[in-house]
């Protein structure tokens, strides 16, 4: 079953990645080797070209900015996303690849809602690990932490 799930998950990821590896700019500013998990509330979800943006405030009041793929590709992901998928004040978790320079932002990998649904609005700026579905439940907050523990 695990293998089947893996294949399905990677299949979904594959389709998303094939649509998302390209973008209108390079991803040089994002550290694609790092994946971090943050919790917060949505300040704004901007579903617009050339890239969607999610602004999220963390508990300490820091405003994080995340960039993802272009709207047409989000529509065809599973689950599909549109301009009303995330609402201000909504509690979410975000897996992201941070900016190299340490400012509060990065390329979004997953957005996870309160029901535990994994949304994948990413483009090539962040190709998050499929294992996050397990890692979140295990309390890990970074890929490095999860990999070190395994």
């Amino acid at each position: 079953m695990k293998t089947t799930n893996c294949i399905i998950a990677l299949g979904v990821m594959l389709m998303a990645v094939m649509d998302s590896a390209v973008a209108h700019h390079s991803f040089a500013m994002f550290d694609r080797d790092r994946e971090e998990l943050l919790s917060g509330t949505v300040v704004r979800w901007a579903f617009n070209s050339p890239h969607i943006a999610l602004y999220m405030e963390t508990e300490d009041g820091t405003l994080y900015s995340f960039e993802g793929a272009a709207p047409p590709s989000l529509l065809s992901r599973s689950p599909s996303m549109n301009g009303f998928t995330f609402q201000p004040g909504q509690a979410v978790q975000v897996v992201y690849c941070p900016l190299h320079d340490g400012r509060p932002g990065g390329a979004v990998g997953y957005i996870i809602d309160a029901e535990g649904v994994f949304y994948r609005p990413n483009d090539g700026g962040c190709g998050p690990s499929a294992e996050w579905e397990q890692w979140v439940g295990m309390g890990y907050t970074s890929r490095a932490q999860a990999e070190a523990a395994q």
């Binding site: 695990k2 293998t3 893996c6 294949i7 990677l10 990821m13 594959l14 990645v17 094939m18 649509d19 590896a21 390209v22 973008a23 209108h24 700019h25 390079s26 991803f27 040089a28 500013m29 994002f30 300040v43 704004r44 979800w45 901007a46 617009n48 070209s49 050339p50 890239h51 943006a53 602004y55 405003l63 900015s65 960039e67 272009a70 709207p71 047409p72 590709s73 529509l75 065809s76 599909s80 549109n82 301009g83 009303f84 609402q87 201000p88 900016l99 400012r103 509060p104 932002g105 090539g124 190709g127």
Partner: protein, 340 residues
């Protein structure tokens, strides 16, 4: 973890890695062979004129008879991009932007000056894309960009939209090239003629661009002859096929003929997608910068930083002459708080 699961994970990871390294998703059906020109032509004009004369000026269409390529489309498979210009010395994969171990420039495809320019670009890395500055993709990149297209054909003009960057191609049917501006254009100047359901297009005066990010540049002598047709596949679905020959005496040793395909996207239509004006300047917070070694790179502005543009709220850069607290200026009333 069992050996079976480990093997499967490795296999999955391999498939994913392989997909990541493709410049475009593979065509869902086999890519049609590129049809080479019937003879060697010295210029694109000679090629187009030959086809025009061969088909005796083509088929006049009315609004009723004009081929309809309606609905939304997106780019599908192609045999263009970096696969024309790069090869792997060990048979390994070539990445979307030409990256990969032991990937080198093919000899004899580009002219020496453009091969050197391509090497220069590759040595700098691919950390910048001219589209970051809100340039349209233009030709030939218009053909490869992954996003959404609309193809509107009339008896006198075809209007083909790429939603990336408000990048419209206009093809003037049975008309002469015109350039009263004395310049080049991202999409160039296109004329064409129909032969029944096939459209032959000649494009000149193209502003120098790229096949894609990380490919060689084109020169301002780059021109194309395209043969477009819609075909119905065995599974009953349709696709648009563009058989295109690139001419560029400054960058290409010989003309190159390739094929691009496009697939219908009724799924996007069903989900309510409509092509909108691409508000790059008002939405885009990426910008050109240079790293510590002076190489072009890309950076990302955050709220509150100079030059940041607010994609939903009340942007002072858009309303500098209005009171900052004027009610009703947000793009969407459900997102009423500006990010500052």
């Amino acid at each position: 973890m069992s050996r079976t699961v480990s093997t499967s994970l490795l296999a999955c990871a391999g498939i994913l890695a392989s997909a990541l390294l493709q410049a475009q998703p593979p065509a869902r059906v086999p890519l049609p062979e590129a049809v080479q020109p019937l003879q060697r032509f010295a210029t694109s004009t000679e090629h187009y004129d030959y086809l025009y004369n061969y088909h005796k000026g083509g088929t006049p269409h009315t609004y009723e008879s004009i081929p309809k390529w309606e609905g939304l489309w997106s780019a599908d498979g192609n045999n263009s991009g970096n696969q024309l210009f790069l090869e792997s010395t060990d048979g390994g994969p070539i990445g979307p932007f030409g990256e990969g171990e032991n990937v080198v420039i093919k000899k004899g495809v580009l002219t020496p000056e453009y091969e050197a320019a391509f090497q220069y670009r590759r040595d700098l890395g691919v950390d910048y894309d001219r589209l970051t500055s809100c340039e349209p993709a233009g030709m030939p990149r218009w053909l490869l960009e992954p996003y959404v297209r609309e193809f509107v054909n009339t008896p006198v003009q075809s209007w083909w939209n790429n939603d990336l960057g408000n990048d419209m191609r206009r093809i003037y049917i049975n008309q002469e090239h015109k350039n009263i501006d004395g310049t080049h254009y991202a999409a160039g100047d296109s004329v064409g003629f129909w032969v029944d359901d096939m459209l032959i297009v000649h494009t000149v005066d193209i502003f120098p661009g790229d096949y894609f990010r990380g490919t060689p540049p084109t020169s301002n002598q780059f021109e194309t002859v395209e043969v477009w047709r819609m075909e119905t596949l065995n599974n009953g679905t349709q696709r648009l096929v563009d058989n295109v020959t690139f001419y560029d005496p400054l960058s290409l040793v010989e003309p190159i003929t390739v094929v691009y395909t496009f697939r219908p996207r009724p799924d996007l239509e069903d989900m309510g997608f409509r092509m909108r004006y691409w508000e790059c300047a008002q939405n885009d917070n990426t910008y050109l910068t240079f790293d510590e070694d002076g190489r072009p790179s890309t950076q990302y502005r955050l709220p509150g930083e100079p030059g940041y543009v607010d994609p939903r709220g009340v942007d002072r850069l858009r309303n500098p002459d209005l009171p900052p607290d004027l009610v009703g200026q947000e793009k969407s009333p459900i997102f009423s708080e500006a990010v500052q």
